[in-house]
Amino acid sequence: MKVRDIQSAFNLEVAAGGGGLDREVVDGYCGDLLSDVMANAGRGSVWLTMQSHQNILAVAALKELAAIVLVNGNRPADDTRARADQEGIPILLSQGSSYQLAGMFFNAGIKKKEG
């Protein structure tokens, strides 16, 4: 599954990083504590968060996350957007909650394959 598949299936607005819509998604991750995401998020995860500041791109880049979805109608600041474009990491937007989106994504098959 690619980021663009999720974007279109759930009709999510692309706020930035549109160049990265073909990135592969293998899992989902929910979290708002950056130290936790740094420690635990898996490569290729689509990251659901309320955090909208620039640091989320550093985390996403380091952890090679597939995309960031900002929940609860949050929007990224201009510098966050610019950084996303630079890194080629999509930021998608949703009015829904983390719980809601995690539920829908999980149901749609976004989950790590059991090894």
Binding site: L33, L34, S35, M50, S52, N74
Partner: protein, 140 residues
């Protein structure tokens, strides 16, 4: 107005942060006030207390009441708020990484207080401190 509770708040003391507000909540519940009113006052007290812990120097919080309503006052001797209008905007925060790791710093504190109180006033002076007062009426 009679002050019925008063608490000291210590800056950066995340372990005891919230104790004052939880005490206030307990006191309000024992007065058999309307549950929604207790909720609103507790939210305001808690957000104010957390703000002092996160941003302020040491501070105090007091609760007073009479037959018209409840008043919460919070003062601290922290570094003050540079731009109050900005601070009142949802999502705006000057909280550091430490606060964020504690689950705060989302920039919702002051807006939540304004939203949940019947009257809200804040004054702050750089390097001197901050004072806020919130009033809640019975039987609105």
């Amino acid at each position: 107005m009679r002050v019925i509770r008063e608490f000291k708040i210590k800056a950066k003391d995340f372990i005891h942060a919230g104790e004052g507000s939880m005490e206030i909540r307990k006191a309000l519940k024992s007065l058999n006030l309307n549950a929604e009113l207790v909720r609103r006052i507790s939210i305001c007290a808690y957000e104010a207390e957390m703000n002092v812990v996160i941003h302020g120097g040491d501070g105090t919080m007091s609760m007073a009441l009479d037959d018209t309503g409840v008043v919460i006052e919070v003062t601290d001797n922290g570094s003050g708020i540079d731009d109050i209008d900005l601070a009142l905007k949802e999502g705006y925060t000057t909280a550091g990484v430490e606060a964020q790791q504690m689950g705060f710093g989302a920039g919702m504190g002051l807006p939540n207080m304004v939203r949940n109180s019947d009257f809200f006033k804040i004054e702050s002076e750089k390097d001197y401190g901050t004072y806020l007062i919130m009033c809640f009426k019975f039987n609105k």
